[in-house]
Amino acid sequence: MHHGGEVAGLAMASTGPDRDGLELDVLKVALGPVLPGWPTGLVLRADLQGDVLTSAELAWLDADTRPAVEPDRAPQEAALDRLARFLDVAGWPTAARDARRARNGMAERANRDEAQRLAEAVTRRVNRSRTLAWTAGGIGGRGSGGDVLDRVRRWCDMASGQLVEDLPATSLKDVAALVEGAEIGSARLIVASLDLRPVQAASASEHVHA
């Protein structure tokens, strides 16, 4: 498929078909393992046509060398963490900052009440934001789990201290199916709205390091 070979040590992109009938270049790119607001160690190898992912394949980098057991954290703190990461990707720096402050406050345990207040304030803001609902809604819909927005609102409930059950973990194959055909920004939001952890992959491959 190469029409030309390498230039400056790097291959040129080759053409491929697309859903809108144009046969233009397909660019092979990797998202992750190191990307702001991205689950560390996750690699998404994608074919990009313009800014749309025409195919996606996900894997964990070095999944078997990680400690299988994550440090146990309060679900509220974990939810605030995830929320902050999602808000980073959604480009909402002030809300992400507040979520992080609330998380830090809770981790310190000195000023719990204030941290709780801050957490409630930021989750209320995110929950009620019509702009966020408009810009992040309607993508990444997945069965009973709802779409990106539903998952984020669930995290908001968890982060404000309500007892909400965690959604079952998503397999990387499902994630790939969700992001295929999505615009790159939507794909980032979808990945950021799922709680992806290498733990499952590690335990699945049965490499447990003490």
């Binding site: 030309g4 040129m12 809108d20 144009l22 233009l24 408009w134």
Partner: protein, 192 residues
């Protein structure tokens, strides 16, 4: 010509040379991006000529339109041309001999025309506000031009869309156009 001050005359000459040079650059460079923006440089030099001739509105609107148009042209050049960045050596010209003949012939015709036509001289004094004069012309004596252009722009929008898009309303709303929400690969700003 005599109306031009020495300053404006120099500016027109320099910018004219610049615009021709940038025009030539379009065919010399390898990369589609460079070719497009060489053309933009040429247009901006023409805008500069208009500015030197004290036609501010026309100058600025030329720069405005041409910049946007060249940005759009860059999109299409890079979409459809092989090797758009010119990373692999290539030539920008095809049928060099034929086009050279056509180009030279056109140049001769235009140059002869320019020097032989008895151009009208400007009798009334320079207007203070060339923009206002243009507005009066468009809204007054040249109204028909605007109406014709309006209709042709409308036709352009329709024809362009029909030709450019692979999917249409029947793909989106179903054969009877009765679907509640359109079926699109990527959702848009409206929730329906």
């Amino acid at each position: 010509m005599t109306e031009l001050s020495g300053w404006a005359f120099t500016a027109v000459a320099v910018l004219g040379v610049l615009s021709v040079a940038a025009g030539i650059a379009v065919f010399v460079v390898d990369s589609m991006a460079r070719a497009t923006f060489a053309l933009l440089a040429s247009f901006l030099a023409v805008a500069g000529v208009l500015l030197a001739l004290d036609l501010v509105y026309l100058a600025v609107v030329t720069a405005l339109m041409m910049t946007i148009e060249m940005a759009v042209m860059a999109v299409f050049m890079i979409m459809f041309m092989m090797n758009p960045a010119g990373l692999m050596p290539m030539t920008m010209v095809h049928n060099a001999k034929g086009s050279a003949v056509i180009g030279a012939a056109t140049f001769v015709v235009l140059a002869v025309g320019i020097w032989t036509i008895d151009w009208p001289t400007r009798n009334p004094p320079r207007p203070d506000d060339s923009t206002r004069q243009l507005g009066e012309a468009i809204m007054g004596s040249h109204m028909l031009v605007m109406l014709v252009i309006g209709i042709s722009l409308f036709a352009t929008i329709l024809a362009g869309t029909v030709l450019a898009t692979a999917r249409g309303r029947y793909d989106r709303f179903g054969p009877d156009l009765d679907a509640d929400r359109p079926d699109d690969p990527v959702p848009g700003g409206f929730r329906r």
